[in-house]
Every structure is written in C-alpha cells, then in structure tokens.
C-alpha cells in the first residue's frame, strides 16, 4: 500500500483572510520514497515542488496550490493505480517527477486517458517523447538520448571505439543501451555485446567478468542508482580498470558520486542537466534546498522545481486549470528559470535545454563534501536531444 506522506497547503497564512481563489490546482509528486531512487527523487522532489510554489508566490497570484505525494516503489502497476486514483477520486491536476522508466511509461498512458498533465523529471527513457509519446506528457530534465550524446559520444571520440554494455533489464536500461549504441555506431564505434542484469541487483562481478572477457575497450553501464555504484565499486575491486578497460557510467547522479567517494569515482565522466555549483542561480537555490534536505538537489529534483514553476506560469497565463489549455501554453511559452536557464518545449513534449558533460574531481581538487564535479563541455539542447523528426512521435509529426 502506498502512504500519503506530505499533505501541504502552501496557502495556510493566506487562508486567514479567506480570499476568493481564482484557481485551485492540485499537484501530485509520485516517485520512489524508499527504494534505490529515493535519494535522488523522493522527499527532495516534494520539497522542490513546494519551493517552486513559494518562489512563484502562487498564493499572492490567486492560485491555491495543494501538493500531495506517494511512493510508487518503482513498480508500474502501483504507479498506474495511484495515478488513476489521484485523477479519478482525488482531483489531482498534474503528476510530477516519476523516476523509473517503466513506471513513467505507465503513468504517461493513464494521464493521457484522463486528459490531465504529466511533467516527468525522474525517468530516463527517451520513449516518453518517441514511440510512447502523449500530448499530455512533458519530459523535463534528461533522457537516454541526451545521455548517449553526452557521455557516449565523448568516450567514443576519445578512442573508446568498442563497447560492451551492462544493462539493467527493464525499459530504462534497454532504452539507454539502444540510444547509446546508435551514438557509438554513428561515431565509428562498434558494440561487441551486452548482458542484461536483474533490477535491482547487488552483485555485478559475474557480469563484469563477462564484460572483461569480451575484450571491449569500454564497459558501458546502462544502469542507475545503487546498481551503478555497485558496478563501479566491484569493477575497481576486480581490477578491471587497471587491466586497461574504461568504465562509462552512462547515468550518474550527484548522490551516486557522493556515495562512491571521490577516491573511487575520480575521473569518471558523466552527463547531467544540472549541477548545484554552476552559477549564482543554481547556488542560491541549492543552498536553500540543502538547508532543508541535508544534501544539494539532484538534477531530478531540480527538474521538478523548474517544471512546477513553468506549469504555474502557464496556469497564471491561462487563468484556469484546464489541462489542454495549460499544456498548449507551456509549449508556447519559453522556459526560463534559475536552474536550467532558457529553453523551450517541443511539440512532442521534450524540453530542450543545455546539457553538461562533467568529470568527477580528484580528492585533491575537491574542496568540500559535495564539491565533486567539474564541467568539461556544454552540449546545446539541439545537439543533446534526438531531433523530433527522428523520434517517431506520431501526434507531433502528423501534418
């Protein structure tokens, strides 16, 4: 069973004067609150949504926002049941976050069925704006194509032209392997093979030895969270990197790097949409966030903040909570917030913004517990994400 952890009315103080609200909206943050992705989404995403509502001054603008949240336990059936209940019975207008690609695909379909809005931040699969796209889906932070165009391309170009994948055996891992394979091959590389491991796993040594036996120059880790952390730790233990193979963590979050420690993780490259220490805007937000959450925001949590902010701007502009009008407005307005800068939302729901290729600092370079990454390159949104024409999203391509 799921539990409703936070029930937040932001407008508590304003209620005292009992104004006539222009618009009521209810946001549902649906994510992993207890499992492998709880630290990078979880309660932190709920906090991010709440901060967006405060920073937007929703109450002052006559928008009454209520935020609820639930734990989908990374299971698609649980996620779609909660989504259904939220839309059908609880009057939720928009579902936010939803990490774990398999659950995100399920929630995207339920949202379309009810004609509501789904602003995804946590999930990776590019299928959310490709074959499985929905007019009601907006995919904010990153996707597998962008990860492939970041880390995958950089590693291939620096001489890593033969690959072997360690792939998490569910929608996300499959999509990441597919998208990275495309980029590797487009850059003259070759994929020698892959092994699919159960999700979540704990011992990867067996799969790592298979990867080692393949003789590929690069072992691509098409998994996430604790799975990636354990893969990297165990690869170090089995001397795989010393023996001459390179590890490419295709999806790493700041929390994972922190958990690995700079000693083990140094030199790893990763692609991210957000890092707390990029400019004054990100630092200011992250400082406030960390004061409450205990850790700086992950890119997923940052995406929940930015997505919520953009949604509220559209609500204000439309002046009602009519989902179709709001989605149209969101796609029409330029996106602009302190965390992701300027960008736009494509017709297929893909948010286009810059991505960053980062490298993990060595312990000597790092000046603090969370001072972990340095920027190597900026990848423009157009280069990072798959062009809409190649994505195969039917409704967006229909003339």
């Amino acid at each position: 069973m799921f539990k409703r952890i936070a029930l937040t009315t932001v407008a508590a103080t304003a209620l005292a004067t009992a104004p006539a609200w222009a618009t009521d909206v209810k946001l549902g943050v649906l994510n992993d609150q207890s499992g492998v992705y709880a630290d990078l989404s979880g309660q932190g995403s709920v906090l991010a949504a709440r901060m967006a509502v405060q920073d937007f001054d929703a109450a002052g603008k006559g928008i009454n926002v209520e935020i609820i949240s639930a734990d989908h336990q990374n299971k698609p059936d649980i996620a779609s049941n909660i989504a259904r209940q939220w839309y059908d019975r609880d009057g939720v207008d928009v579902i936010l976050d939803v990490p774990t690609s398999s659950t995100a695909l399920a929630v995207a379909d339920v949202t379309a069925e009810f004609g509501k809005i789904f602003i995804n931040s946590g999930a990776a699969t590019s299928d959310l704006t490709r074959a499985n796209c929905q007019p009601t889906t907006i995919h904010w932070t990153y996707d597998t194509a962008a990860l492939a165009n970041g880390t995958g391309k950089a590693v291939t170009e620096s001489g890593g032209d033969t690959w072997f994948f360690l792939t998490a055996d569910y929608a996300f891992g499959h999509a990441l392997e597919r998208d990275t394979t495309a980029v590797v091959e487009a850059n003259g590389g070759k994929v020698l093979g892959s092994v699919k491991h159960p999700f979540p796993g704990s011992d990867f040594s067996s799969f790592l030895l298979q990867a080692q036996g393949s003789g590929a120059k690069v072992i691509g880790l098409a998994n996430a969270g604790a799975d990636t952390v354990n893969s990297i730790k165990q690869a170090a233990e089995f001397g795989i990197v010393q023996a001459g193979q390179k590890l490419a963590g295709l999806l790493l979050f700041i929390n994972n790097v922190h958990s690995l420690g700079a000693e083990t993780a140094q030199g790893l490259q990763m692609t991210t949409a957000f890092y707390w220490d990029m400019n004054d805007g990100t630092r200011e937000f992250s400082k406030r966030f960390q004061a409450e959450a205990g850790a700086p925001p992950s890119m997923v949590q940052a995406g929940v903040y930015a997505g919520t902010l953009h949604y509220l701007k559209a609500v204000e502009a439309v002046g009602s909570n009519d989902p179709a009008a709001i989605v149209a407005k969101m796609k029409e307005m330029e996106t602009d917030d302190p965390l992701f800068g300027k960008g736009y939302i494509r017709k297929d729901g893909r948010v286009i913004h810059d991505m960053y290729l980062m490298e993990v600092k060595s312990p000597a370079e790092s000046t603090g517990e969370w001072d972990l990454l340095k920027q190597i390159a900026t990848i423009s949104g157009e280069d990072a994400f798959l062009p809409m024409e190649d994505g195969g999203c039917a409704f967006a391509l229909a003339k």
Binding site: H197, P198, S205, Q210, E237, G239
Partner: protein, 295 residues
C-alpha cells in the same frame, strides 16, 4: 580444453568462483536463520535487517570512533547480537507458545521499522566502506583476477559455517541445545537454564547475520535496503535446504550461489528467479527440503 555451450572454460571457472563467493553470503545468512528456526522455532524475518545493521555497525565504528575493519568484524556482531538479545527478551520470547505466524509477523514488522529508521537517517544511496589495506589487491589465477578480499570472504564463511555446525552437532553445549528444543522441561529439570540458553542462541544467530553484514560492507554498498533485497533469497535457500537443518543450510547456500552464478552466464535475465524455480521444484518433490528430516 573443451568449450561448454560456447563458454570458454576460463570464463566458466571464474563464474564458478564468483558463485562460490555469493554462496558464502547465502550460507552464513541461512545458517543463522536455520539455527534460530531449528532451536527456537522462530522464523526470523528480521534477519535481513540485522545483516544490514552489521554492515552499518562496521561503518559507524569506523566513522564515529575510528575503529577499523578487523575489530569491527568481532565488535559489530557482538553489538548487533546484544540488540537481538534485547529484542528476544522483551518481545520475541512472548511468542514461543503461539503459532509460527506470530513470530514471523513480529520479526517482519521489526525489520520494516529498523530499515525505516536507518533510511530516515542515512538515505538509500549507500555509504562508502573501504576494503581493509591488508586485503587490497588480488591474485591472478590465470583464468581470472581474484580480489584478495573475495578470497577472504570464502575462507571466513567456510570457517564460521563449519565452526557453528561443529559446535551444535558435536559438542556438549550443542547437545544441551538440541535436547532443550526436544524437551525443554526435562532439560530444565537437570538444572540447565533453558530460557537463557535460548536467548543466547538467538543472539548468536543474529550475530551471524551481522558478521555477514560486516563481510559485505566493503564490496556491496552499505545501505538500509541491502538486507531486504537478500532476505527473500536466503529464505528460499533455507527452504530448499530444509528448515532448521544446519548442514542443509550451509551446503545449499554454497550450492545455490554456484547455480545462480552459472545462470548469470547462460541466461542472465533468469538469474533473479532461478533460486525460486529450484525452490518450487524441491517443494513439489521433497517438501521437507533436501536435507530436512521427515516431519
């Protein structure tokens, strides 16, 4: 040498060895469960949480007091075992007269509470714990690179498993324990403090879980969910071996580790379920388990 189904023998040897390493964890954990079930008749669902506490114990000793791996290998099981004893005295001991189900529900609830508390304080991302300096590096065995630490895991588990088996099956203390489970009143009449013996046995079983936790800390990520992922598999191991059979738990633990390892080569997608398939087959053919006594 020959190739088996397209897998070169070197790879196969490596995978067998890795299976054995994973089997070591299954063996130590299922041994603790088997001891507790065999002697107390309690299905200890908190075992996974206690394994996790063992790993966290090692991490806390290092980070809060500076005590390293080797002392932690002894201290952490003692501390966690003592917590287990407190739980047994205050809660579990009240359930001995009731159906198994009550003990299962209580320990399951305890496991959820313990995991929730750790999750609340430490998050789920996992904490780093380094391999002790003496065991860093590894040996090149020709067919694979064996990290020294993994070799140590196998040795430590084999020693602990057979030591425990010897103590229970071959010593006087063990004979008291076995007698006390058969007929507590009679053993008590000989002047042996049966309740205290049972309490210590629970503490020992919990200590075994914590020992496995410390062994796991340097190679798996130390996180509150590490036991929850493992406990179901370990229960399957105990069921296959025969509930309460000490030797059964040990041999099945190592054996299933190897079978799971081989599945990872031939059909990786099935490696998460192979143990449960075996469990279903064993339950159909020999419901009391491979090494169980006919009840």
């Amino acid at each position: 040498m020959f190739e088996l189904l397209g897998i070169p023998p070197q790879v196969l040897m490596g995978q067998l060895l890795i299976g054995l390493i994973n089997g070591s964890f299954y063996a130590v954990l299922s041994l603790g469960l088997a001891v507790i079930f065999g002697l107390l008749n309690i299905i200890n669902f908190a075992h996974g949480a206690q394994y996790m506490m063992g790993a966290f114990g090692a991490w806390m000793l290092l980070n809060y007091t500076g005590i390293g791996y080797w002392p932690a290998l002894i201290l952490s099981p003692i501390v966690v075992g003592a917590i287990g004893i407190a739980l047994e005295r205050t809660m579990i001991s009240r359930l001995y007269k009731l159906d198994h189900l009550y003990g299962l529900l209580l320990t399951f609830g305890l496991a959820l509470i313990i995991q929730g508390l750790f999750r609340n304080y430490y998050g789920v991302s996992g904490l780093p714990y380094a391999i002790p300096p003496a065991l860093q590096g590894g040996q090149n065995l020709g067919f694979m690179f064996l990290p020294n630490y993994r070799g140590w895991v196998i040795i430590a588990s084999v020693v602990v498993c057979f030591g425990t088996w010897f103590m229970i099956e071959k010593t006087r203390l063990g004979s008291y324990l076995r007698a006390a489970t058969e007929n507590p009143e009679l053993v008590g009449a000989f002047g042996i403090n049966v309740p205290r013996m049972i309490t210590l046995t629970y503490g020992f079983g919990v200590g075994l879980a914590a020992f496995a936790g410390v062994l796991a800390a340097p190679i798996y990520s130390v996180n509150p969910n590490m036991g929850a992922d493992l406990i179901i598999v370990v229960f399957a191991v105990v069921v296959i071996g025969g509930m309460g059979s000490i030797m059964g738990a040990i041999l099945t633990g190592f054996g299933l580790g190897i079978i799971e390892g081989l599945t990872r080569v031939f059909y990786p997608e099935g490696s998460a379920v192979v143990i449960f398939v075996i469990m279903a087959i064993v339950l159909m053919i020999k419901p009391e388990g491979l090494f169980g006594n006919n009840a």
